[in-house]
Amino acid sequence: MSQFALFCRHVAFLAQKEMRSLVKDPRMRVQLVVPVLIMGFLFGYAANYNIEDIPYVAIDASHTAASTDFLAHVEGAPAFHCVAAPGNIDAAKDLLDTGEALAILTVPETFERQLAAGETAPVQVIADGRNPALAGMIERYIARIAADWSAAQSGRTPAITLETRTWYNPNQLSRWTFLPSFLAMIAFVQVMMLAGMSIAREREQGTFDQLLVTPLSKTAILIGKAIPPVAVGLFQAMCVFLIARFWFGVPFAGNFATLMLTLFLFMVSTTGVGLSISSISRNMQQVLVYLLVLMIPMVLLSGLVTPVRNMPAALQVATYADPLRFAIDAVRRIYLEGATLGEIAPDFLPMLGVAAVTMPLSGWLFRRRS
């Protein structure tokens, strides 16, 4: 028991020391809070795939009642607004080139004639393919408007209609998916940095030897060193949570304790990776190189940008070593669908696995490296 008490005191003294040297530096204090706030707001506002405003150019070659009616119908759709109505394609091209318009809608001369003859009347849509996702959405959107219009024209009801509902994010607001993932993301970057620097900095400044000759055990040093990054990570995740919930009003469907537990597990596994890097590096510069090499693939494999499902099979296997993937998945599900502890438990396993490997590994590495 007294052994255990001594161990706890060791850990407490070390963690306290780490925390003190962290917050002592005014620049560090700024660095712990400001980037989180800036990026939280930035992601909330900027990372948006939704179409809220589509400037387009309409070329009405037909000049008939039918074409005017059709174009009015398009203009009436919420996101669309016509920026120009030139007589020919050349003037329209310039607007697309400069980005002033995202699409060109051309109603051909034969429009009304073909309709009257009961034929199918083609309408041309040229979309800006420099952003394929956006172009695709514009095309689908106009197709739906056109379908609505022709249904109204013919007076016939279509054979089937699709009634779509998107669950958990009914209006498909990309902010909703981004902000919760970001809870895990920002903490990930800073925790990796803090843990990565912790041992390397001591080694560079020569304080590590001083630490190694004390009776502090390997385990005590590791745990003591892991506590501050984990605490900082949780604090930052909290900042993003508050921004998401109260500034952007993304409703929180889940259980707060479950969310915290998930984030905590994630921080522990990330800290393990960071400390391992720190243990094998001779100086802080080396840590930075390792971090860059490791962090970019980890973000890519996490499924934050592209779905894991779309990756080649081998890469999909590799994602199991990426705690970020499961953290993002778990946090999204807790936040948006209100998943319970039991439901996201499978996500915990890979994270725990990474922590169970990297924590002892870093301990082993730093003894060997000294």
Binding site: L6, R9, H10, A12, F13, L14, Q16, K17, R20, S21, K24, D25, Q205, G206, T207, D209, Q210, L211, L212, V213, T214, P215, L216, S217, S370
Partner: protein, 589 residues
């Protein structure tokens, strides 16, 4: 002869930061350095040596006074002055990832040395510095002495009129130091170079033509080394210590005795400076010892000047004197250390890094209460041996036991018995003195009331009480070392490991430091210490000298001198003799 540097009433004041008082680095210094001569600047830390050098280089502006180099006003035409001189700062900027040759080429490029003269110049410099065989080696892989020589070579890629060297031999062993000075002497002779050098080594100052003694920004004296030496004439004595009394105890007692200006162990005796009759001194009376007059050395003159300058500043408090007197009268006569049980046992210790043998088959033991020194040139393996003893490095083979256990594999409690002071300051720079002490106390298992008491005790012991809330990085050099000692001793360990604790500190501070060590040893703490200053071997009960990983000699200073047949010789000479003899033998076989 023309003056190459002429300073008149030169004053430099650094404005204090945030409410702190201004610091006067130089006040009214008037001095002259002659062309074609070597001029030395000596003085304790913070005397203003570096500030003076930087002013000469035109790197900053003066507060008042005049300064000219080769007749040019430094402050009006700094660029013209810089074209005439080369400056080697204390920490010379070698590019550690470049080879020796690449470093030279880089500096030649920076100074715009024409390609035509380069080859000849490089060959000469490389030959002179003995680096010709190492042109392809990375600067980072050179030993300390070789780095300094390369730094000097880079400084000399062009032929300057004036060469400024700021403590060029700090942390360099006697052999390399001697070589460096031979290079300098040769340059002065052959190229008619003028040199201004600051140094902490008195024997180096003795090699110069003129010496200026600075103290707290003021010039105490300027003149030939001979004039400085004779300033202490008639004040120097030496005394033989009784058998079994470590020199350091007698020296320490003398140093604290009233009326004694300086005391230092040297050549198997204790030398001291006093204006009184030696018979009046309490420690000598108590032990019934007879002192005899001695020839003054440069260091004696220097110490006399410093002590007198300090005494003018502040009279020592009376209570310290009585305490010292009391200590002197009850001077303990400890049993010979070899009778005590061995606390550190090393048997056939080997350390290899790949194919390179850093430490080869070394055996020795250290007894309880002993002061044990590890000496050797740069790269001799003493740091490697030291790190293995502390448990920071695994041994390749051999037995190694500290207080009965191998610290490398020892349970954490065993490590609680040792204290460790690293070579460079290695506590947490941005934490305060108190926070550092608190952390290390906690790391050694102290807490609560016990921890508070120990913090208070070591703070008192090392005079840190007034500076508890200052960040460690803001402490002046001497205080940093005291803090390192305080942190290493917070848990009152039985063994204290010190890695080159005195490198880069001035003679005055070293006296104080060794007094501390003497006090600790007298209290029963075992001390293992590495040092570059050979004369510090005199403070040790026993020491060993390593070179190329091999142990060359082991014994007490008196034994080793007797073995070489060089009674009374300065330690530097003993050291060089031993290392050279060993190297000759190696070449012979």
């Amino acid at each position: 002869m023309a003056d190459v540097i002429a300073a008149r009433s030169l004053t430099k004041v650094f404005p204090g930061k945030k409410g702190q008082p201004d610091t006067c680095a130089l006040s009214g210094v008037t001095l002259a350095a002659r062309a074609g001569e070597m001029t030395a600047l000596i003085g304790p830390d913070g005397a203003g040596k570096t500030t003076f050098m930087r002013l000469v280089c035109g790197l900053m502006d003066r507060t008042a006074g005049e300064l000219s180099v080769c007749g040019l006003d430094v402050f009006r035409t700094p660029q013209d002055v810089q074209d005439l001189l080369s400056y080697m700062p204390q920490k010379f900027g070698l590019y550690e990832d470049l080879t020796v040759a690449e470093n030279l080429t880089l500096y030649a490029d920076l100074h715009g040395v024409p390609a035509a003269v380069r080859e000849e110049r490089f060959t000469r410099l490389l030959h002179m510095t003995g680096l010709a065989a190492f042109t392809g080696r990375l600067a980072g892989n050179l030993s300390g002495g070789m780095k300094q020589k390369l730094g000097l070579a880079c400084t000399l890629v062009r032929s300057p009129r004036l060469l400024l060297l700021d403590e060029p031999t700090v942390g360099v062993d006697p052999l390399s130091r001697r070589e460096l000075w031979e290079i300098l002497t040769q340059l002065v002779r052959e190229e008619h170079l003028s040199v201004l050098v600051s140094t902490a080594y008195m024997e180096e100052a003795a090699r110069c033509d003129r010496v200026y003694v600075l103290h707290c920004g003021q010039l105490l004296m300027g003149g030939t080394p001979e004039a400085l030496r004779t300033a202490a004439a008639g004040l120097c004595y030496e005394v033989q210590a009784p058998p079994h009394l470590p020199l350091r105890l007698l020296q320490s007692a003398l140093l604290t005795a009233p009326g004694v200006l300086d005391a230092v162990p040297a050549g198997g005796v204790v030398r001291f400076l006093t204006r009184r009759a030696p018979e009046e001194l309490a420690p000598l009376r108590a032990l019934g010892l007879q002192a005899r007059p001695a020839e003054p050395r440069l260091e004696d003159g220097f110490m006399k000047l410093l002590k007198e300058a300090e005494a003018e500043g502040a009279a020592p408090p009376a209570e310290v004197e009585t305490a010292a007197q009391g200590a002197a009268e009850t001077l303990p006569l400890p049993p010979p250390a070899s009778a005590a049980p061995a606390l550190i046992e090393v048997e056939d210790l080997v350390k290899k890094f790949g194919a390179f043998t850093a430490v080869a088959h070394t055996s020795f033991s250290v007894h309880r209460g002993e002061v044990f020194g590890l000496l050797g040139p740069n790269g001799a393996g003493k740091t490697t041996t030291f790190r293995m003893l502390c448990g920071l490095l695994p041994a390749t083979s051999g037995k190694l036991r500290v207080a009965g256990v191998d610290l490398r594999t020892a349970r954490t409690q065993a490590r609680a018995n040792i204290g460790y002071v690293a070579q460079k300051f290695s506590l947490y720079a941005n934490l305060t003195v108190y926070e550092n002490l608190r952390f290390f106390g906690g790391a050694y298992g102290l807490y609560g009331r016990q921890l508070r008491e120990r913090i208070a005790a070591v703070a008192e012991e090392f005079h840190l009480t007034d500076r508890m809330d200052e960040a460690a990085e803001r402490l002046p050099g001497g205080y940093k070392q005291r803090l390192s000692m305080a942190a290493a001793l917070i848990h009152a360990p039985g063994i204290l490991f010190l890695d080159e604790p005195t490198s880069g500190i001035d003679p005055l501070a070293r006296r104080t430091f060794w007094q501390e060590i003497t006090r600790l040893a007298a209290g029963g703490t075992t001390i293992v210490i590495t040092t570059h200053f050979m004369e510090e071997a005199e403070y040790c009960d026993r020491f060993m000298i390593q070179d190329h990983g091999k142990m060359l000699v082991l014994g007490s200073p008196a034994e080793i001198r007797a073995r070489l047949g060089r009674e009374g010789a300065p330690m530097d000479e003993v050291f060089i003799a031993i290392v050279e003899q060993a190297r000759r033998e190696k070449e012979g076989t």
